[in-house]
């Protein structure tokens, strides 16, 4: 994290986006949950952060972690915002897709890890 973005990161406190709620209304969401926007529901009346989440997800499917990174908000806070949007029907949450057809070779993955570490 660079100093510059850090000076920006603390600006907006998380509770302003969540109305002080820290516990998401849905316990099923995790960082990898994929979010899809429902383009038919109007965005009027949404607060600024929810508005931004919708803008992000309308452009394409994103995971909760990606939304958090774009909002520059902690994951726990993002989950609260996203949960509310899922409740209101603005977003559809889908469990992440894990390809089950092919198990990866453990040795192969180790090689990849070593390769990455040596970069």
């Amino acid at each position: 994290m660079t100093r510059r973005s850090h000076r920006r990161r603390g600006m907006v406190r998380s509770y302003t986006a969540t109305g002080g709620r820290a516990i998401p209304s849905r316990a099923t969401l995790d960082e990898a949950t994929l979010l899809k926007a429902d383009p038919k529901l109007p965005m009027a009346g949404l607060n600024a952060q929810s508005h931004r989440v919708m803008d992000l997800c309308r452009a394409g499917v994103l995971s909760v972690a990606e939304v958090a990174a774009h909002l520059q908000m902690p994951g726990a806070v993002t989950k609260v915002i996203v949960s509310a949007l899922v409740d209101s029907g603005h977003l559809v949450a889908v469990a992440p897709f894990v390809p089950a057809a092919q198990k990866h070779d453990r040795e192969f993955l180790k090689k990849v890890l070593r390769g990455l570490q040596s970069i």
Binding site: V12, R13, P24
Partner: protein
């Protein structure tokens, strides 16, 4: 023979002649003495009169000095030192001293006292302000670190629960405390104590909203185009602190929701805070306007009421950072309409480390198979309309790729090849170096 006769004859004549002038002198002397006595009597009378007059003057001057010491100076001290608003300094006692230098000297004493008090007060205020700045600095640093720690904890993975709720509540108290410290240091003649990177108007409004108690009563009408314009980092914190003060005023004087919105104007942007409270009367509005154009410093003896203090903070920041705040416009809701004008020269560019705006959906090259659902039934990304990407939209390279397993494996294979080639190159270079 004639000599003695002549002498005899002459003798009485001579004697007479000698006596006569003496007599004349004597008479003259007597007369002079009489005249002198008369004159002395007159002179004595005059002297007495003068003496009496001088004594009256003396008594009057003593009276006047006593009046100065017992009444005028204490009243003056009440006025300039103790700041009693109804302390009236009495005038001189004796009118007939008006033509003498006495009143002038008394005025000199008064002036000197006023100057002395002003000088002492200024020195004391300077020392106090320096002290306040030092303490505020330390408190601010600690609170900012507490905020960072809270963010760090909130950012940790794991189940969210009561712990996160407590952190969020603590965060709100910390942020409000931080704002209190900031307004104190600003009134003490210092800067807001925090340098920010360029931030958007949305971030400024949301940040200001989070710094007051009843933030849930502030309704920010977010419009993506104006809301995502960048304000120069140098003025981000001052504008945010000023906006916080306006929001605090609006929510303090109204129990209804407070509306905030941003608009573009021909010469810049404006952030409008509207409440539906009691509003201000003409006198309060004049006082507010007066404070908003001044550059007031913390006066130890005159810490006024809350609203005035807020306007003093805003006035000082607006003066130092060249933005303008106006509370004179009528509000549709009957309350106060505060407008913060940001001239174009205070607007900035997006920061360099901001993720580059992703291509708008129609520019994304369509990958094979994106029109059909994946085996897992996940929706595929599809270009959606022609919505222009104003805010930094997400990059389309999602961490969780939805390509089919075969292409994923092929990708890994390519990566392995790249690594293998990379090792080879490094090794050969190493060997050549050793040679």
């Amino acid at each position: 023979m004639t000599g003695p006769h002549l002498l005899l004859l002459l003798a009485p004549t001579a004697g007479l002649a000698a006596v006569l002038p003496a007599l004349a002198v004597q008479v003259r002397a007597k007369r002079a003495a009489l005249r002198e006595r008369d004159a002395a009597v007159i002179a004595g009378k005059e002297l007495r009169e003068v003496a009496e007059r001088n004594f009256r003057y003396y008594e009057a001057v003593v009276d006047e000095v006593r009046h100065l010491a017992r009444h005028q100076l204490p009243a003056l001290v009440d006025e300039v030192v103790r700041g009693h608003p109804d302390a009236a300094v009495p005038g001189p006692l004796h009118d007939f001293l008006r033509s003498t230098p006495v009143p002038e000297h008394h005025r000199a004493v008064e002036t000197l006292l006023r100057e002395a008090v002003a000088t002492v007060r200024e020195h004391a205020a300077q020392a106090a302000r320096a002290g306040v700045r030092g303490i505020a600095d330390e408190a601010q640093t600690l609170l900012a670190r507490l905020q960072m720690k809270i963010d760090e904890e909130l950012g940790k993975d794991g189940p969210t629960g009561a712990y996160h709720q407590s952190l969020t509540d603590i965060d709100h108290f910390t942020t409000r405390a931080l704002h209190t410290v900031q307004r104190l240091r600003i009134l003490a003649g210092s800067w807001p104590g925090m340098q920010r990177a360029n931030c958007t108007i949305r971030e400024i409004v949301e940040s200001a909203r989070g710094r007051i108690g009843p933030y849930d009563r502030v309704e920010y009408t977010y419009l993506a185009d104006v809301g995502e314009r960048y304000v120069e980092g140098r003025v981000v914190e001052p504008v945010t602190v000023a906006l916080t003060e306006l929001l605090a005023n609006a929510t303090d004087y109204s129990s209804e929701p407070v509306t905030v919105y941003a608009q573009q104007t021909p010469t810049g942007h404006r952030i409008v805070v509207e409440d539906t409270g009691l509003g201000m009367n003409a006198f309060q509005r004049d006082e507010a306007e007066r404070l908003l154009v001044r550059r007031p410093l913390l006066d130890l003896t005159a810490l006024a009421d809350e609203r005035k203090l807020g306007f003093a903070v805003v006035g000082r920041l607006a003066h130092d950072y060249h933005f303008r705040v106006d509370v004179g416009a009528p509000s549709a809701g009957g309350g106060v309409k505060a407008v913060l004008f940001l001239p174009d020269k205070l607007m900035g560019e997006p920061p360099a480390d901001e993720p580059a705006p992703a291509p708008s959906p129609q520019d994304v090259p369509e990958r094979a198979g994106t029109t059909t659902p994946t085996p897992a039934g996940l929706p595929k990304r599809q270009p959606r309309g022609t919505r222009a990407a104003r805010t930094a939209p997400p990059t389309q390279e999602a961490t969780t790729d939805t390509s089919d397993p075969a292409s994923l494996a092929a990708g890994f294979e390519r990566l392995r090849n790249a690594f293998t080639h990379g090792y080879g190159a490094t090794d050969s270079q190493g060997q050549r170096h050793d040679d």
